[in-house]
């Protein structure tokens, strides 16, 4: 889909957002375009059906989502000093799906607040690099393993030990 400024006969450009786009309560997205010549701005408003179609393609549109290498700050020991508690999805819409799945997985989880179980930045990057659909279950399983084995946080060593113990 392309947009043309009919006044200038010039292709309009996507206005990138600093924060990931999220559908509103009705599933609608607002994606802004600007004419580079006359600077007039328009917004493409999607209905829920159109939003879902784009979501299903697994592509990113209209925003600067946090990429695999962004949003993570390491402290001196290599641990995560500052980051989102969850890895960002590559698609702003699919972030919602994962959030929902996380809620569901927490329902039948052990009686422990999973947000309190820290991951090092390196371990979190590994989690971000697996298929998005698998992340909630991987996170839950690894945290359970780490808890049982006495780890105070999920580290790469913890992940490697899980690999070893489960003979993968």
């Amino acid at each position: 889909m392309k947009f043309l400024c009919t006044s200038c006969n010039t292709q309009m450009k996507l206005v990138k957002n600093e924060a990931p786009l999220k559908p509103d309560d009705h599933g609608s997205l607002s994606i802004r375009y600007e004419c580079p010549d006359c600077l007039i701005e328009i917004a493409m408003l999607t209905n829920a059906f159109e939003t879902q179609m784009v979501t299903s393609m697994g592509v990113e549109i209209g925003g600067e989502t946090v990429s695999k290498s962004q949003g993570i700050t390491l402290d001196e020991s290599g641990n995560m000093a500052e980051a989102n508690s969850e890895p960002a999805a590559k698609c702003p819409f699919s972030q919602m799906a994962r959030d929902s799945m996380m809620e569901a997985s927490e329902t039948d989880s052990v009686n422990r607040n999973e947000d309190e179980f820290p991951w090092t930045a390196q371990a979190m990057v590994r989690l971000q690099n697996i298929p998005e659909f698998a992340r909630p279950m991987a996170k839950k399983g690894i945290e359970k393993f780490a808890h049982e084995k006495g780890f105070t946080q999920v580290t790469e060593e913890c992940l490697d030990r899980a690999k070893e113990e489960f003979e993968m």
Binding site: M1, K2, F3, L4, T6, S7, C8, N9, Q11, M12, K13, L14, K16, P23, G27, Y33, N47, A48, F49, T51, Q52, M53, T55, S56, M57, G58, V59, E60, I61, G62, F93, M96, A97, S100, M101, A123, R126, L127, N129, I130, P131, E132, F133, A134, M137, A138, G141, I142, K144, F145, L159, A162, K163, F166, E167, M168
Partner: protein, 293 residues
């Protein structure tokens, strides 16, 4: 600009204004291709018909190649009715993020299996969150393919001799997967000796032939019933059905003892003396010879 001036058309405009949708799709395809570059043979096991034993045959073939010393993994592409996790005894294994993507869970004999049956309990349907209620018939297939693409791109498949992809039923799915995987993927089709099944599989052959994907041949499953008491294979279907217009790789009798292993997830432990396993071992050798001819 006056009304008399002709407005530019879609094709007059270079690029997409910054959304880079096509760029992302192309980049993801390239990532998948790179991630599968260490795999010698990618084989899709399909049929078109449901209930003919695609998953069982896929798992058995993987075992047969594993016994030949080959490095083998399976991808269960049946998102909605995944069976490979149970067949492999891997319904309850943790998913571990490795240095190069998701680590593939393995059976005791070393066969890797990625299946939605490991991700979602059998008591639940595989579901995707949606902001649009009542329209899943429109977007669901797209979502399933993009999810499978993620698994192809973000799983550490490593160096393999074979990656078997167990397809869902549906003639159109054979065609869609042939397009999706491209010409690097060869097809093996499964049928049973009934004319009903063969009719559907014939349609799948016609559909796949419209794509660049080669078809290695077909396997006739449940070609008979193995009676352990009499040690004989007895017929299950009337004989004399016409053969399909692609090479027959072999016929596989139904052995209740092997079926029990399937339910228990111990298929790789089933007796190698079973007629089912003997047939599939011969078929594996035939496939190997075909691929390396």
């Amino acid at each position: 600009m006056g009304d008399s001036k002709k407005l530019k058309t879609y094709s007059d405009l270079a690029g997409d204004g910054g959304s880079n949708i096509m760029g992302q799709v192309v980049a993801h395809k390239a990532k998948i291709e790179a991630n599968l570059s260490g795999i010698k043979y990618v084989i899709a096991v399909g049929s078109g018909k449901g209930g003919v034993g695609k998953s069982t045959i896929s798992m058995h073939l993987a075992s047969a190649f594993n016994r030949l010393g080959k490095r083998v993994s399976l991808l269960d592409a049946d998102v909605n009715g995944p069976a490979l996790a149970r067949l492999a005894g891997l319904t309850d294994v943790p998913l571990i993020p490795g240095q190069n993507g998701l680590i593939v869970p393995k059976t005791k004999s070393g066969i890797g299996v990625i299946s939605f049956g490991t991700l979602v309990p059998e008591s639940e349907a595989v579901d995707f969150k949606s902001v649009s209620s009542g329209d899943s018939h429109v977007w669901r297939a797209t979502k399933e393919f993009s999810t499978l693409a993620d698994f192809l791109a973000d799983t550490d498949w490593g160096e393999l001799d074979f990656l078997f992809i167990d397809l869902p039923p549906g003639v159109e799915r054979c065609f869609q997967f042939a397009e999706f995987f491209g010409s690097k993927t060869s097809f093996i089709l499964i049928t049973i000796p009934s004319e009903v099944s063969q009719g559907v599989v014939a349609r799948s052959i016609a559909a796949i032939k419209k794509t660049p994907s080669p078809i290695i041949g077909y396997i006739e499953n449940m070609s008979g019933y193995y009676c352990a008491d009499s040690k004989e294979v007895k017929p299950l279907f009337p004989s004399g059905n016409a053969k399909l217009d692609i090479p027959l790789l072999g016929s596989v009798p139904f052995d209740p003892a092997v079926a029990e292993h399937c339910d228990r997830g111990t298929i790789t432990d089933s007796a190698s003396s079973s007629p089912t396993n003997i047939s599939l071992q011969k078929i594996a050798t035939k496939i190997m010879n075909t691929l390396e001819a």
